[in-house]
């Protein structure tokens, strides 16, 4: 059972605080914040506090969402998964109601948040975290905050940038907000979000690769009609279940073999074994329909090669090459490549491709890192094409100057190269939503359906 729940800002201010059982002394918010801020691990100066720790018999659980700390305390030996899952869920419910989750929106709507908290937990026991169920207990109306000024947060936010087809406000709409015109826009969003992890060896060979995917849904349909989501027919679950071994997997037609997956509680799998269809009555709010994991071979969207070589006394040269290996009608966003350089590096000069406007390379003196960004936002239209065409290649050359002579192997003093990127409208696994069927209420009922794909880097690393 939970003793207290509170939300702290990054600076440690209480934004909401609810004591459910009165068994943890006052001042727990300060104790918690100090502990997190000055966490010490043996042999480390700076360390990150683990999500669960104990101070004087009080257990503190926390998750970071949208730059805020969601914290629960308890004195009993409870399931850590349960509490951390709950904290995450509370954050999601609040977001569903406020439309946007930020310090500002929480402060403006704290009375509504208290209303929610009263119904989510009673005397430390979870009552409900369903946005749908909670609707009948909430009487405050959300005060909207200006979403446009907010930094993009969370996976859904990536859809807000750029693409004109997406209604930008949809993802920041409260489930209980009234539309100005007095009627709700009927729409449903299905997002296929994939995080990919790849490790390339120094010779460019793929050491490990994994895709962690989520099919996320957010429904604004009135009357909660039943929905059928059809996935690829050639979809196998459990490695070894099929004898198929297909290299074409990432380009579509081949079979997709998932290692494993799990489903939201509203999902019924009655016909899943027959035709790979999920049926569900989507509750209000945002929720993951299905999480999946895949280690089957796939084509990584970027090839990364990196090289560091000594070039005479107190000098070295770095070459990083990236090649985009996805179809040419697709654009990647916010690509950042980082590489830790030897500690004794004092200076770095860069040489970019000719005409590489929009690219910047920088030497971060403080943590001795090289940072190369290829941001779509500043690339002009023509140059954009050079980045996205399949097989297009970009190279960064850097000349390093050292303070002292290198000893031993220079490749052991630097690297690995890591890369982050976002590729909208692309997924690496080949998993697809073939169709989205909404049980018809009438022949004129034709709500908006948005099926969106996005691929993100999780741990994308090339070794030296």
């Amino acid at each position: 059972m939970i003793s207290q729940f509170f939300v702290l800002s990054q600076r440690g201010d209480n934004i909401v605080f609810r004591d459910y059982r009165g068994e943890v002394q006052k001042g727990s918010t300060e104790i918690f914040f100090r502990k997190v801020k000055f966490w010490k691990e043996e042999g480390q100066d700076e360390a990150q506090a683990p999500p669960v720790f104990n101070v004087d018999g009080v257990n503190y659980f926390h998750v970071k969402v949208a730059g805020l700390l969601f914290v629960a305390t308890t004195r009993v030996n409870i399931s850590p998964s349960l509490v951390l899952e709950l904290l995450q869920r509370i954050a999601r419910v609040i977001k569903d109601y406020l439309g946007v989750l930020s310090e500002d929106s929480l402060r403006k709507n704290f009375v509504l948040v208290y209303e929610l908290l009263d119904e989510v937990i009673d005397f430390g026991y979870v009552q409900s975290t369903s946005t749908e169920v909670l609707k009948s207990y909430i009487f405050n109306e959300p005060i909207a905050v200006d979403a446009a000024r907010l930094p993009p947060l969370g996976p859904a936010a990536i859809f807000m940038q750029g693409s004109k087809r997406m209604p930008g406000t949809a993802v920041t709409k409260s489930v209980i907000a009234n539309e100005p015109a007095g009627r709700k826009r009927e729409e449903i969003f299905v997002d296929i979000i994939e995080k990919i992890s790849v490790t390339f060896s120094s010779s460019g060979y793929i050491l490990t690769s994994e895709i962690d995917g989520t099919i996320q849904m957010k429904s604004y349909l009135t009357g909660n009609p039943e929905i059928r989501v059809a996935l690829n027919e050639e979809l196998n679950i459990g490695r070894g279940s099929g004898s198929l071994y297909d290299y074409r997997s990432s380009t579509g037609s081949g079979a997709v073999i998932l290692d494993d997956c799990n489903f939201h509680e509203s999902v019924r799998l009655d016909s899943f074994d027959v035709d790979r269809t999920l049926s569900l009555v989507p509750p209000d709010g945002e929720f993951p329909v299905m999480n999946y994991r895949m280690t089957q071979e796939f084509k990584p969207p970027f090839r990364v090669n990196a090289l560091i070589e000594e070039a005479g006394n107190l000098r070295a040269e770095v070459t990083i090459k990236i090649r985009a290996e996805f179809p040419s009608n697709i654009t990647a966003n916010t690509i950042v490549v980082q590489m830790p350089l030897p500690k004794y590096t004092t200076r770095a000069t860069f040489e970019l491709d000719r005409g590489a406007a929009g690219q910047t390379a920088d030497f971060k003196e403080a943590n001795k890192k090289l940072e190369w960004s290829l941001k779509k936002a500043i690339i002009s239209h023509m140059l954009l094409w050079s980045l996205i065409v399949g097989g297009s290649e970009h190279t960064l050359r850097a000349k390093l100057t050292f303070l002292q002579e290198t000893h031993g192997n220079i490749t052991k003093e630097s690297g690995p190269v890591s890369m982050t990127f976002i590729i909208p409208m692309h997924n690496a696994s080949g998993l697809q939503v073939k169709y989205l069927q909404i049980a018809k209420k009438s022949s004129t009922y034709n709500p908006y359906r948005w099926v969106r794909y996005v691929t993100q880097a999780n741990s994308y690393v090339a070794r030296l």
């Binding site: 683990p50 999500p51 018999g57 998964s81 192997n409």
Partner: protein
């Protein structure tokens, strides 16, 4: 508009200091209390919001209690809710004033709207004032019988709240019996779940006082109750499912058929997106099959994939909680996970605590077929710029070397670390080489050749320096410079701050002396003299002991200080298997994350008063 709450720890002129604003609010509330003017509810809302926001940032607004209660005569539900929240927070420190609220709360408990009835009942039970409990029994009794499930749900938790304020009142009213009846008959699953939570808490607390209570507590684990809950489990929402599963994990089935029935019934819970449900299910599976070795092993195979999926989906915090449990299972049955080692490779953006768990898992799953790959991967981390992880990785390589039979390749890798010439890498490696030599003396030639090239000046960390000195003493016949290195160390005795290093130095000089007496004589003299004058008790005592031993008889001294040694076959494990088993029994709890058994205080035993400081 509520003022954005600023930090009350960094006062600024614009920030509410408390006093002035509170008295301001007081007079404003007074004005509104009797007013029936149109729009008065809106003004009240704004004022109430201000009060609540002050309360949140820690300003004491308890002095407004009377005014707040006066303003609570309203039909506006938003206002009512804010008022309930306020009253719940301050009734405890204002027991006399709390009496004022009883009236309107009791009236609201009879309201037509079930929502109001429920909210009022919840607030009434949350007052936490002992002398008001008599007012709770009536409304609770009717709340439990209410036709609306929301009111019943609130009433059930209300009974538990009453129990915590006054257990005798709760028991005298025979509420637990009513809860038991509701648990087995109520159509609403949340009511049922709340009954289960409340009864578990009440019977556990009462069990020490009465035998009947302890029988009742055990009855929750009886076959009829468990089957009743299991049969309805799919109607429950995810959180009560966890509650039921937690209970089922404690149930002892009568035969294996029962075990398989339960497992078949719960099989699909392993595909739930909520990690808490999956872990609770896994606990059931593991506990039920403890005595069936084969099936237990199959359970491990079955739960691998869902656990790995949970680790990679969800937030880093959630995945850490799951990974801690995976870690426990891997430690328990490394053989079953030896082909999954790639899942335990670290990702560059993971936090230290996650990487540490993964390194430990990689260490234990290493076997003849995967060691080469695992050690290669670990060597990558050892060269990493992330120093704490580099250290942990080197330790991991060393541990793998100590548990393997074929250490040939690993020794080479370790020695390569020494050639990297990074201080912390050298330090960690030296400690490992020492342990390795104690287990595999046959490698001494190769190791000593490399270690001999290390200058003791480049080794600063006490543990590493002690290891180097140990090797100098142990292998002084093979290391040409040993007596002279030891001599220079002994001469600079006062520069050595670590008593551990000084102790090792004494012993090493002694050992060296027995092997190469003429060359070591000077070092021995210096070390013993310095040791006798040492401020550290242990160092002083050891020096004195050696001195007297040598005085008595040199060959006896040699037998004591440098007897022929047997290779160490197994290094003691840091954690006893008994503790490991107990942690396993507490699967899906904090013990797993902390990796230790913690005696948790029962919340009942703590007084409900808050400290006034």
């Amino acid at each position: 508009m509520a003022p954005p709450a600023q930090s009350h720890r960094s006062p600024s002129p614009s920030q509410p200091s408390g006093k002035g604003e509170v008295s301001d609010l007081k007079s404003q509330l007074r004005q509104l209390a009797g007013s029936r003017a149109p729009g008065v509810d809106d003004s009240k809302r704004e004022l109430f919001k201000k009060v609540i926001s002050y309360m949140t940032i820690g300003i004491d607004v308890s002095s407004l209690f009377g005014e707040m209660v006066m303003c609570s005569a309203t039909s506006d539900i938003v206002l009512k809710k804010m008022c309930y929240l306020y009253v719940g927070n301050y009734a405890k420190v204002n027991p006399d004033l709390a009496l004022l609220t009883i009236n309107f709360l009791q009236r609201d408990c009879k309201d037509q709207d079930p929502m109001i009835r429920g909210l009022a009942l919840r607030s009434l039970c949350s007052l936490r004032v002992a002398n008001l409990v008599e007012y709770l029994v009536g409304p609770l009794g009717s709340g439990l019988k209410d036709s609306n499930s929301y009111v019943r749900m609130v009433a059930v938790i209300g009974v538990l709240k009453l129990y915590h304020i006054s257990s005798s009142t709760c028991m005298d009213a025979d509420f637990p019996a009513i809860l038991k009846h509701l648990m087995l008959n109520d159509p609403d699953t949340q009511v049922l779940a709340n009954c289960l939570s409340a009864l578990q808490e009440i019977w556990t607390a009462e069990a020490s006082k009465s035998e009947e209570a302890s029988r009742e507590r055990d009855a929750l684990l009886s076959k009829p109750v468990i089957y009743y809950l299991l049969n309805r489990i799919k109607e429950f929402s995810e959180w009560p499912q966890c509650l039921v599963l937690e209970l089922v994990a404690k149930y002892v089935p009568s035969d294996s058929n029962e075990i398989f029935d339960i497992m078949n019934l719960l099989e699909d819970r392993l595909q739930h997106a909520n990690g808490a449900v999956v872990l609770a299910t896994i606990k059931v599976f593991l506990q039920l099959t403890l005595s069936m070795t084969d099936v237990h092993q199959q359970v491990y195979e079955r739960i691998k994939a869902p656990l790995l999926t949970l680790v990679s989906s969800g937030s880093p915090e959630q995945s850490y909680a799951v990974l801690s449990h995976l870690h426990l299972l891997v430690m328990r049955a490394p053989v079953l996970f030896s082909s999954d080692y790639k899942h335990f490779y670290c990702q560059y953006n993971e936090s230290f605590y996650v990487k540490k768990l993964k390194l430990e898992m990689l260490t234990v799953v290493a076997n003849e077929s995967n060691t080469y790959e695992i050690v290669t991967e670990l060597c990558e981390y050892a060269a990493n710029v992330d120093i704490p992880i580099a250290r942990e990785s080197i330790r991991a390589v060393g541990k793998i070397a100590l548990q393997q039979y074929d250490v040939n390749a690993i020794v080479d890798r370790l020695l390569q670390f020494l050639e990297m010439e990074k201080d912390y890498v050298t330090a960690e490696t030296l400690v490992l080489v020492k342990d390795l030599l104690r287990k595999y003396p046959q490698w001494s030639q190769d190791c000593i050749a490399v270690v001999g090239n290390i200058s003791s000046k480049n080794v600063q960390e006490p543990k590493a320096k002690a290891a180097l000195i140990w090797m100098l003493g142990e292998y002084s016949q093979d290391m040409q410079d040993a007596p002279y290195i030891l001599e220079s160390l002994a001469e600079n005795w006062d520069d050595e701050h670590s008593p551990e290093v000084r102790l090792h130095l004494l012993t090493a000089v002694m050992k060296c002396f027995f092997k190469r007496p003429p060359e070591t004589q000077k070092a021995l003299g210096a070390a013993l003299a310095a040791g006798l004058g040492d401020f550290h008790q242990d160092v002083h005592d050891r020096a004195l002991f050696y001195y007297r031993l040598l005085q008595f008889n040199v060959s006896t001294a040699e037998r004591v200080v440098n007897p022929p040694k047997q290779a160490v076959s197994v290094f003691a494990d840091s954690q006893s298997s008994e503790i490991k088993d107990r942690i396993f029994d507490e699967f899906n709890s904090l013990s797993v994350v902390y990796q230790k058994i913690i005696v948790f205080q029962c919340s009942r035993s703590r007084p409900m008063t808050r400290t006034s400081s």
